[in-house]
Amino acid sequence: MTTHRDAKGRPIVAVTGLGVVTSLGQGKDANWEALTAGRSGIHRIERFPVDGLRTSIAGTVDFLFDEPFTAPELSEKLATLAAEEAVAQSGLNAEGDFPGELFMAVPPVEIEWPQRQELAASIEGEPDYDGLLRAAATQKYKAMHELFLFGGVADHIADRFGTKGSPISLSTACSSGATAIQMGVEAIRRGETQSALCIGTDGSVHAEALIRFSLLSALSTQNDPPEGAAKPFSKNRDGFVMGEGAGALVLEDYDHALARGATILGIVAGCGERGDGFHRTRSSPDGKPAILAMQDALADAGLTPADIDYINAHGTSTPENDKMEAMSCTAVFGERMPSLPISSNKSMIGHTLTAAGAVEAVFSFLTIANGRIPPTINHNNPDPAIPLDVVPNQARDAKVKTVLSNSFGFGGQNTCLVLAAAPEAASPVAR
């Protein structure tokens, strides 16, 4: 059997399954249809009262539960649905015996207000933490322990899909989904596993989560109309809109996929990551870490800036991110940048936070497969400081073989992925 290696002599990492759920719907078809139609999934929040809040909109996923639920329960449900779609497409065992390892980006969880209230209601006297501990000691609320463990969601997914080894629950803040993919790539390149289930999930829009971001002035307050609030790269952008969703990818050693006759949807050609010691929430003003992360991803893929056909932007719609990202892209791509298409899925689905890197990687592969670039909607007031081709408002047909997908997060997290068409289509082209 032939063995294929990348330019650096490593196993090639193929993608053989993709799954996604966002506020636009469940599954690749529903999402792609809405995304290319320029439809927004952002709406007024109905999950909890929004009285007194500066932001009352989000891209929540409201079609999965009838009863009240917690963030880990929704995050697990989203991940399960996305992973079911991806694993089924891959043709690898879907009957609870997935042959590879699990890498999951999950939101940090903690006991939520309804549960805290439930404990407080059961005790006499002050509902301080000593009181809550007395309630806990009755052992009547045992299920809350497992529900609010950080490793709980990934553990349940590992059980459900029968993944092998020790499941990883990770966070690199808003680049977590991309890191989950990067860790799968690394494990396959090390030869540790021949397949990996990589998932980013986030179903954590509740009052306190929204208020925390609001207190950092990170969210858009242009609530009316909700679908107009996320406007990446526009002059009047004023913050991101929280979103929910999950993206799942089955990664596989290319030769392993070929040998079993799997359909290869594309490859993860390269990954780059850099830390930023500048500030807890702000990026280095010179954009250096983001620039280096993009350059590292290209170098890891053995490609140059000229090989990239489209950039799937982090594009949060915050004043700072979009400016920094545009500047960094210009530094990397130079005079090509004004004509290189770059669009932000977040204009339609909001910022799916922990899930974003994975959700947007799925959309990037759909962009390659369909030869159609989803637009940046709400682009009615361009920022003269950002002279980019943001694919404004209308999807565009284009031959896309190689995508750079950017993810940047609080805490100085910068992760970039180079995602490409399957090698047969990508390699014979003369450069």
Binding site: P49, A121, P127, I168, G275
Partner: protein, 376 residues
């Protein structure tokens, strides 16, 4: 081709103090554990021996932006960088890849209690909650709680500009952090790594999570492997960070090598029947290869019913091993427990107390891990 991985930096802080010395001394002659049985009664905890934060976190503004677990972690990461001799080496810190095993930060207990009181009295709980959270939450508290902000603060305070990743998921996060760091260096995916975790036990919100599941020991201290009367965790505040690099690189720069980290393995048994943990951990230890008689066995055991005995069963099969439970020295430290146990094993090897060590860890709820270390 695999590269040998060595430990060239160790940062340690616990109820015993900071740095290698008090921990090496504790390994040599089991001290009386430091226990605070009053502050969180009926839950005993091993309190952190107070740190002079200014020594590793010079800016007060940085200290203020962090909760205790982050300060403890950033401080200890600084000790590890000092120990590796790379604290002022900007080039090394640009290359340094970081993996932190972390939970989340402390909540504002006063705010939570006041809101819970108010919620009892209001007919409009939703709007009341919004109003109080908008008014009472400190904006920076969010950042002090976010799991990945321990790594973020290490970057900011120590000028580490290599990338960081944060693993969550209780004890197993610590196992997988060390395992992944080792794997990336041994296969050439990284050339120098900082890996570790920090845990602040002195907080009621964290005790609450464990007590909900019935996992805390009430009352008095007892050694980890002798808690059959009242099984459960006695948590401790502590942190450990390790600097790992290939043996060749360490030799080339003349770095002091504390120990060789030969291998790290991990798995997750489903724990549906008794014996599952013993089988899983036994298999992992077997994967590490033969162990010489008289090796040191450093265990991160929890003291939880059943699984602690199963872990003891695996350790008992190691020929004439000298068993140390890190929980007896400074308590159970959740995400930090496995990195701390590896750090302690390396400390013992470096002090000449043994020439080989096995480290075992069994999560209070999920996950099994093991590591093999040798004298450099």
């Amino acid at each position: 081709m695999k590269r040998d991985v060595v430990i060239t930096g160790i940062g340690l802080a616990s109820s015993l103090g900071e740095g290698l010395e008090p921990h090496a001394a504790a390994l040599a002659n089991a001290p009386t554990p430091v226990i605070d049985a009053q502050s969180f009664a009926p839950y005993p905890v091993h309190p952190l021996k107070p740190l002079e934060l200014d020594r590793q976190i010079p800016k007060k503004s940085d200290q203020r932006q962090m909760e205790p677990w982050q300060r403890l972690g950033v401080y200890t990461a600084g000790l590890a960088l000092d120990s590796a001799g790379i604290k002022d080496d900007a080039e090394a810190k640009a290359e340094l890849q970081v993996i932190v095993a972390a939970g989340g930060g402390e909540r504002d207990h006063a705010v939570d209690s006041a809101i819970l009181s108010g919620l009892r009295a209001t007919n409009e709980p939703g709007p009341f909650l919004n109003e109080r959270l908008m008014g009472d939450l400190r904006p920076t508290l969010f950042l002090a709680q976010l799991s990945n902000l321990l790594a973020g603060n290490i970057s900011i305070v120590h000028g580490v500009t290599g990338a960081s990743r944060t693993f969550m998921g209780e004890e197993q996060a610590g196992v997988d952090a060390v395992r992944t760091a080792h794997a990336r260096i041994s296969t050439g995916q990284a050339d120098i790594m900082l890996v570790g975790g920090a845990y602040n036990a002195e907080r009621r919100d964290m005790l609450l999570l464990f007590e909900l599941g019935g996992f805390l020991r009430h009352g008095d201290y007892a050694p980890v492997f002798a808690r059959e009367d009242k099984p459960g965790l006695i948590v401790g505040s502590a942190a450990a960070f390790l600097v790992l690099e290939p043996a060749e690189r360490a030799a080339a720069r003349g770095a002091k090598v504390f120990a060789r980290l030969d291998d790290v393995v991990a798995d997750r048994s489903r724990r549906r029947e008794a014996g599952a943990v013993e089988a899983s951990l036994g298999k992992l230890v077997a994967e590490l290869g033969p162990v010489s008689p008289g090796a040191l066995a450093v265990s991160a055991a929890t003291g939880i019913a059943g699984i602690t005995g199963e872990e003891a069963g695996v350790i008992a099969k190691l020929p004439q091993a000298k068993r140390i439970a890190t929980g007896d020295l400074f308590g159970h430290t959740v995400e930090a427990a496995f990195p701390l146990s590896v750090a302690l094993a390396a400390t013992a090897l470096s002090a000449g107390q043994a020439s080989e060590a096995i480290v075992t860890g069994v999560g209070h709820w999920r996950g099994e891990g093991a590591a093999h270390l040798s004298k450099a």
